[in-house]
């Protein structure tokens, strides 16, 4: 058993923390919330120079060849800094899908471009049903003239507004998990329209509609009709990657709150000397540590290629709820000031709420856990 990060991971963490402290101050985070694109191309280029955009991809595709666990370490720091922009969409979602499903040629080209920082990508999976289940995929791709024609609506697609390519999950036939195919679609293609949603975290989720969008044979990622298992793998990693971000945010909220309660004086004493505040802080510390270990366990298992359906579901169900509890307690300790737009607390609370429901909320994953521990199917 070794519950510590390796030396290299510690170094990655420190570099990331220093880099983001310099390059991603909260002024940038706030600016990007209002920004049309939602990210800074200059920062993106610097991140690519650091090797971040190619971090988890094998060197033969132009990446750095780090593990998923290493990626989790980086994502934790990104969550701590509230890094805005399409890193998650590009590297975890689209990059993950391309790694899982892409042909050698597709990987060479696309992962190479992502690693160089030249390509922004995303995954168009969920639809107005807001479901992560295969059954609910209704966007269709009909075979036509050697290619396909895509029709339908995707919703909650992150960063489609700035993506150079989208991985679109569409139904080419069949039912449920059968007959789902991944397509590479140019967001500027004829028939694609993209509308930005307004979200609680001020991130860039989009509605993407496909109106008779024609794609060629080369647009298929992997095999026709065999896309869902790939999506499931990507979703598992995405859920845990989101947990890593949440752990970073949670750690930062705890630190902010503890510092504030040492400094803020009321009734002639620092409020941190009051037991009510101490208990809030203790509960927050428990939630941070709990989230950290259960999330890193899942990240480690995925990294090692071990079966981890139960552990992934445990991590996301716990961390979703814990981050919500913790940010709420942090606000309670901060009192009125934390509730203001000028204060950083609200940045975390809004992101916690968005992260809670993304890639399955607590109940979604508890249902998986229930089956994994051997409970009978629900009535």
């Amino acid at each position: 058993m070794d519950l510590s990060l390796s030396e290299d991971q510690e170094m990655l963490r420190k570099m990331a923390r220093d880099f983001l402290a310099n390059e991603c101050p909260k002024t940038l985070v706030r600016e990007m919330e209002e920004d049309e694109k939602g990210y800074s191309p200059e920062l993106w280029a610097k991140m690519a120079e650091q090797g971040w955009t190619g971090l988890p991809f094998p060197e033969k595709y132009g990446g750095v060849g780090y593990s998923f666990l290493d990626l989790a370490v980086l994502l934790e720091e990104m969550g701590r800094a509230c890094l805005p922009g399409p890193y998650f969409s590009t590297v975890v979602l689209a990059g993950g899908a391309i790694m899982e499903a892409g042909s050698e040629e597709q990987k060479q080209k696309l992962l190479g471009e992502i690693s160089e920082g030249k390509l922004i990508a995303t995954l168009a999976l969920t639809e107005p049903s807001a479901s992560y289940k295969a059954n609910d995929i209704q966007v269709t791709a009909a075979a036509e003239g050697g290619g396909h024609v895509i029709n339908g609506t995707k919703l909650f697609v992150p960063d489609a507004n700035v993506a150079d390519v989208m991985v679109v999950v569409a139904r080419t036939g069949g039912q449920g998990a059968e007959g789902l195919t991944l397509f590479l679609v140019d967001p500027k293609a004829s028939g694609v329209s993209i509308t930005q949603l307004k979200t609680i975290a001020s991130d860039k989720l989009c509605e993407v509609t496909f109106d008779k969008v024609k794609v060629g044979q080369d647009a298929v990622l992997g095999e026709v009709g065999k896309g869902w298992p790939m999506v499931e793998t990507v979703l598992q990693k995405a859920a845990v990657a989101k947990c890593a971000e949440m752990v970073g945010g949670a750690q930062q909220v705890l630190e902010m709150t503890v510092n504030y309660s040492k400094e803020r004086v009321q009734f002639g004493r620092p409020i941190g000397s009051f037991q009510a505040i101490q208990h809030h802080c203790a509960n927050m510390a428990i939630d941070v540590d709990g989230s950290r270990f259960i999330s890193y366990q899942a990240a480690w298992m995925l990294s090692e290629g071990m079966p981890s359906t139960k552990e992934v579901a445990m991590a996301k169900s716990w961390t979703s709820d814990a981050y919500r509890r913790l940010t709420a307690l942090g606000h309670q300790v901060h009192g009125g000031i934390g509730f203001t737009k000028d204060h950083d607390m609200q940045l975390y609370y809004r992101r916690a709420k968005a992260a809670e429901v993304t890639f399955g909320d607590g109940d979604f994953h508890r249902d998986v856990v229930a089956s994994e521990i051997g409970l009978p199917d629900p009535a």
């Binding site: 058993m1 070794d2 519950l3 040492k262 941190g272 208990h279 428990i286 521990i373 051997g374 009978p376």
Partner: protein, 381 residues
Amino acid sequence: MDFRFTPEEEAFRQEVRDYITNVLPPDWPALDPIDISPEINDFVRQQMKVVGAKGWLSLSWPKEHGGREDPMLDTILQDELAYYRLPVRDVQGVGNVAPTLIHFGNDEQRKHHLPTIAKGEILWCQGYSEPGAGSDLAGLSLRAVPEDDHFTVNGQKTWTSFAHQADWVYFLARSNPDAPRHQGITFLLADMRTPGISVNPIIDITGNHTLNETFYDNVKVPRENMVGELNRGWYVAVGLLEFERSGASYLGASRRLLEDLVGYAADVGLRHPLLRKRLADAAVELEVARWLSYRTAWMHQHQMGYSLEPPMAKVFMTQRAGHLGMEVLGLHGQLERGSPCVPLQGSVAFLTQLALRETILAGTSEIQRMLIATRGLGLPR
């Protein structure tokens, strides 16, 4: 990172399981078995010696004192013993007295007491709480007047678990009433057969007798039974508190309860979505608690210090057991041991009541949170 146990640790866990399942009588009570009958008590005392002979009662001790210097194995042992409800690792002797003597005792004391603890021959009890000193332990008033070669002890302790069975007691006494209160306390050991010590049972909500009042009437405690320096006992006790809270026994007990409940739900065909959610919730909490506990052992193994870790596991483990069982069993959950139609040998009704104790014993949840906040997070007092 590596979240696996080593092959040696896995093998040890299996060895413990094999030992327990071989030796445990088929009708072993599916709940905390202490004091159900003299036969069961005798069996536990006899098995203490068996595990002692295996070297399992000194697993985390330094090698120079005959241990294996492996807190991870000790944690695994506690986890498994609690799972099977076989309380043969004396929490007080193995968990508290031994590490205290190793850290703060002198050679004579170690030579005298460590072997009997390691062999499972001696049961210890703890004399800390008093009627007027619970969470605020430093307010204790049991007097120990230092005289030539002994202390004369007068006063009362309470909540003394297993005082009626224990052979020895370690306790804190006020040796200098004029000093600031943390600086007038001495840490003492006494043979429970010493004239003047008497024990009075306290029956708890479950109907069990584990707790006692202990009275000291002109008890003469030899000077050599003082651990650490005169009037410095508080600091010995504070050091000891850190050994008391890895939470592994809560872990095993909770794991067993959850497995029993999931098994029950599967057998009876409970399919209500809300019930699934609650059990899944408990499974997730248990997994979190598992890492908080084993992290403590892992830190101990690597001598990384404790800060806020030990209290965390306990706060966590003790919040859960109270209500889950009754939620799953519904009306059947109220049936007690020995009742017709009782599921799971009445463990649920028992644990539902016992849970009240677990958030209080060895530092209430509130005290634990205060420790996390002040010692762990550095908040002002």
